[in-house]
Every structure is written in C-alpha cells, then in structure tokens.
Amino acid sequence: MEKHLFLAGHTACYGCGEALGARLVVDAAGPNIITTDATGCLEVFSSRWPQSAWAVPFIHSLFENSAAVASGVEAALKALGRQGEAKVIAQGGDGGTADIGLQCLSGMFERGHDILYVCYDNEAYMNTGVQRSGLTPYDSDTRTSPFGKVSWGNRYLKKDMPAIAAAHGVPYIATASVAYPKDVQAKVKKALSITGPKYIQVHVPCPLGWKSDPALTIKVAKLAVETGLYPIFEMENGVVTKVRKIPRPAKPVGEYLKLQGRFAHLFKKGGGEGEVKKIQQIADENIKKYGLLSEAAEKVAVEAEKE
C-alpha cells in the first residue's frame, strides 16, 4: 500500500476536494517539510486527536498569517544554519489567502522567502458556513451573497491571485486542480526545486458549499477546467510557460454550473440565461487569454472560420 504523509481518518466531509488536495501536495513534497496552515476547514478536519492527518510538522497559525508564520520559520532556519533540513510550505484556503491573508502573503512574496504557498481554493468560507470570499465565482449563491428578487448571487469576479503573485515577481506560479492529481504533484515538486517564493492555487470542490454530489467531486473539478472557467497553467518569471489544453469544443459552462446547487437559481429564475451567458463570457475570455484550446481543435476552428 502506498504510504501517505497526509493520513486517512480525518474528519473532512464526503467528497472533500481540499482533503484530496492537501494529500497530493504533502505526499509530493515528501517528509522533509514544515507546514503552516491558516484557520479553515483543513485545519479543523486534519488536526484533531486522534484523527490527525499530519505525518509532517504542522502549525495552525491564525486566519490571516499563514504566510507570515512561515516567513518566520524559514528565516529562522536560515539564521540557525538549518535551511537544508526542511522546505517550508504555507497553506491557506481561498479566504485565508485572497482576503484576510493577502497582506501577509504580499510580504512573504516581497521579501523573497524560500516558501511554497499553497492556496486550496474551494471558492468560499466553508468552515464558517459558506460565506463568499474574494475567490467566490460570479453569481454564486452563498450565505452572504444570496440570490433573491434583485440579486443573482455574488456580484464580484474572482480575484486574479496568480496575477497578484506575478506582480510581486514571484518566480514560479501555478494553478492546478484535484481533477488532475499527477499535475498537482508535478507542480509541487517543480516548485520546491526553485529557490524563492512560489504560489500554487489548487481548485478543490466543496460538495457542502457548492451543493454538489460528493460522488462527483472529480467530475465537477474536471468540468471547471474543460469549460475554461478554471484555467490550469504555469507561470515562470512572469511568463505563462505551460497551459493545460482542453478538448474542443470547450464544454458549455452550463454543464458545469448545472451540477451545483450554488448556481441552481440561474436555471430556475426567469432571466437566468443572460447570467449564464455572462459566465460563458468569462470562460471564453480565459480560453482566449491562456490559449486553452488544444492544437487539433484550433485547426478545426481556423478551418471553420475560413468556410
């Protein structure tokens, strides 16, 4: 049996994408790591006795400061001449990364700490009962962005965290999805081979908050990528060096949205088609911006245009 460093038996919900994401990251990183983790689901479900999942050193920081605590750990290891002993991995959810933790993360990037920061993006504050965050997608129904007579849900677009990291001159930035485990692990390994700050954002479905079938976590995650809503790419020294191509024709966003209760209102309420169109536009822009369509498919597209 494969030996994991993020162990089974923790108390995550059925079909939790974040638990899977954390296991992929930690297993890929190997035993010589020190991990920090912001307040959130991961901290809560992975650190309780006797169901602790961590076979590597782990410190729950607070909500806002995973990157800063990690900065202290990394700098002290250096000062003590122990930097070769362990890599430092800072972790947080989307709220702990893009909202309350952004200041500490910016400082970590700016000072150039040799730390891999992993954001497990399940697109809302799930631990406190599903409130919107800076990474909640447009029109998503949450407890603080409820849809209703005048509202379609979350009014804001996802913060572009990779671009924010890139603006700090972070040498390695990647997005990933639990739908592609080998890709997640390859990116973690590559990141850890690079000195300096690194940022990886892993898309991790949350059946509870997304109101999706726990059995379909991987399918839902895959559809986010295949529709173009969650572009998977690597960015090195500010340049996108690799993207995960998606089969053409790209799946319409409706296929992804319909599997999730957080978007159900778009298909029930009159006028929802217009909102779905807006979301399709977001996907289309991603496809264009990152060149997500596969080569073969692009040829088809070009020919179709000629005709």
């Binding site: 607070l62 952004l102 406190t128 009962g129 407890r143």
Partner: protein, 376 residues
C-alpha cells in the same frame, strides 16, 4: 431628541435566535450600514443583514477582514450613516486599534461581540464571557466604552437598539456582549411597532471635537456638510486639528473622553434587582449566566436562604455604586471565565466576594451557583 421611527419589520411575536434578533434590532434602530467578516458564532448576523439591509435601502459589505470591517464602519459613520459590525473574540482582537481610533475620534458605532471560548481560535462554537476585559482595556491608552450584556433574545433586540442610542448620545463605540449560546438560542421576541431613536446631535459652526466644559459631548458633523471636518487619530484640539506636543490638550482630551462617559454613568447603567431587600447573600451576574443565577436564587429561597440577585445589564461603565450599595455578607459572582468582572466587584466592595467559574465551554447551570449559595 428622541423621535419614534416606524419599524420596518411588522410588529408581533417572532421566534428568533439571538443573532437574528440582533440584526433586526439594528435595522429597527436605523442602522443602514453593516461591514463585517465571517466568524463563528456571529456570522448569522451578517448573513441576515446581507439581504435584509438591501431590502430597507441599506448597505451590506463583506470586508476582507475585521480590521477592514471596523474601518469601513468608521468611514460610514463620518459619511453620515448609523453603522454596525459584529464579530467574536479573535475578530475583536484585530479590531482593537480601530476601536481606539473610534474612541479618540468620538465615532459613534455599535460592535456586537458574540463571545466564544478562547484564547485565540479556542472553541469557535462555545459560549464564554471571554472579552469582558478585552473590550474595556484591549486598545491602548485610557478610555471608556459602553458595554451592554443581554440575558435573553428579547434583550439582545432591546439592548442592540439601546446601543445605537447610547453611541449617538455619548459618541463612543458601544458593545453588545452576546455569546455563542445566546446567539443561537431561539425564543420569543416581541417586535414593537415603533422604536425610540436618538439622532445625531448637529450644531453648525460648533467645534466637533471638544466642548467648553470638561465632560461634554460635542455635536457631530458629517462629510459634505460644509463644516470643514478634519478627523485624526492623533491628539487634537477642539476643532480637530492635530496637536501632539501640548500637554494641556492631551490632558483635556483624555479627561473628557473618560469623563463624558463616567459622569453620565447613572444614565447609562441599568441593573435589575431580584429579592435584594434584606438579602444576606447577593449573586451579581450578567448575560445568560444570570438566568441560571436567578433559578438558583429562587431555589435557595425556597430552602429558606435569604439570597438575592443583582443583574448587570450594563458592564461598562461598571455599576460600582450599585455594587457598593449592597448590604450583604457575601457576594457571589458567577461567570463563564476564570474571573473577569468579579475583580471589578472586589475593587469596589468590602464584602466577601466568591468566584464561581466555568471555563470548559459549557453553559452554566443553576446547580453550581446554588452550591456556592449554600456553602457557609
């Protein structure tokens, strides 16, 4: 001025949990701005306001953290709104610098603190009287705040409304000290048709940051009222201009920030007496614990013990005269902590003071208090 405004919620009896009652009270009190950040066990307040405020023409903003939440509230108040935020202990810790700022700039605002067991992240969903001292002493310097302690869902409603009025009357942050148990306790809540509201005191051309006398509350302008507003967290003169090297200005400001509350303590402080006449033993309690205390007192009286209850609805300013007036031979102070407010009781009385504490994140029952009453 105390105009009655129509309650946007139809009057009647509602079966509310504490957090819902709090949100509705804010709306009834004329609050039209809420900025907050998710934190258990307070999140239901913001969740309800996220749709209720837009319904009544108000603004709800989810901020990126608690520092931003209280900051946005301060900005909104100076723009002319009645504003509130809600949080729990760890979030309150992040707000503390801004609370000091609200105190020195005399920004009227309401902060609901749904307390949970700490320190730090502690037990996010368990009740605790953990912030009794944090709200009083957490920010730097010398200052007074007002803190109210409801013991029922009805009182969460009533005291949240009162908090807005006190904030305007004295231009201070006012805390509503709820807790995880009261937040999620569901019981009858009577919603009145109209609510008495204290408006913001306006006086054109009068300084906004100082008064002639040493204890007054200056009138307050909003941005855009052509009053030349200069607002600063630094020490300032009566007009709001920064003056940090003048010992008299610092002294006058600090004295007034304190005295404007302390000299009005009689108007601010509310207590409730149960069987106090001639009581040999008095339980002094607040919040949900006071309900257990009242049950214990009644039980003990049936057994022939001459015991009464003094319930504190106001924690800060501390009701020292009310405590001092107790002619008992023993005072019992039950709290969901290792003893916070009890030390204030000890400071003001010569009577023997007994601690009854619970720190395991469970609510206090009458049994523990009854035991302390019976102990000779």
């Amino acid at each position: 001025m105390s105009p009655k405004i129509k309650n946007p919620l139809p009057p009647g009896n509602y079966f509310f949990e504490g957090n819902q009652a709090c949100a509705e009270a804010a709306i009834a009190a004329g609050c039209r701005f809420f900025a907050g950040y998710p934190i258990s066990p307070s999140s239901e307040i913001m969740e309800r306001l996220s749709w209720r405020l837009p319904e009544v023409g108000g603004v709800f903003i989810q901020m990126e953290d608690e520092i931003a939440s209280i900051s946005a509230v301060i900005g909104a108040v100076w723009a002319g709104a009645r504003a509130m935020t809600a949080t729990s202990g760890p979030g309150l810790s992040l707000m503390l610098e801004n609370i000091g700022y609200a105190i020195i700039t005399e920004t009227p605002c309401v902060i609901v603190d749904v307390q949970r067991a700490g320190p730090s992240t502690g037990q996010a969903t368990r009740p605790y009287d953990g912030d009794i001292m944090q709200v009083k002493w957490g920010s730097s310097g010398d200052y007074q705040v007002i803190a109210l302690a409801p013991w029922s869902v009805q009182e969460v409603y009533d005291l949240t409304i009162r908090a807005f009025n006190l904030a305007e009357l004295y231009r201070v942050p006012v805390f509503v000290m709820s807790d995880a148990a009261l937040a999620h306790l569901r019981e009858d809540c009577r919603i009145p048709e109209g609510v008495d509201i204290v408006g913001r005191t306006k006086a054109k051309g009068v300084p906004h940051f100082g008064t002639e006398g040493p204890v007054g509350v200056p009138p307050m302008a909003s941005f855009g009222e052509e009053e030349g507003l200069i607002i600063t967290g630094s020490t300032h003169d009566k007009s709001g201009y920064r003056k940090t090297q003048d010992p008299n200005i610092q002294k006058d400001l600090v004295d007034r920030l304190n005295e404007k509350v302390l000299s009005n303590a009689k108007e601010i402080i509310q207590t409730e007496e149960h069987f106090l006449k001639g009581a040999e033993i008095v339980v002094v309690a607040y919040g949900l614990v006071a309900r257990a205390a009242l049950a214990a007192v009644k039980e003990a009286r049936l057994g022939g013990i001459n015991v009464g209850l003094l319930r504190l609805k106001t924690l800060w300013p501390f009701p020292k005269e009310e405590i001092r007036a107790l002619r008992a031979r023993r005072i019992i102070v039950p709290e969901l902590n290792r003893g916070q407010l009890v030390r204030e009781v000890e400071r003001v009385t010569k009577v023997e003071v007994v601690y009854v504490n619970r720190v395991d994140g469970e609510v206090m029952g009458p049994g523990e208090i009854l035991e302390a009453i019976k102990k000779q």
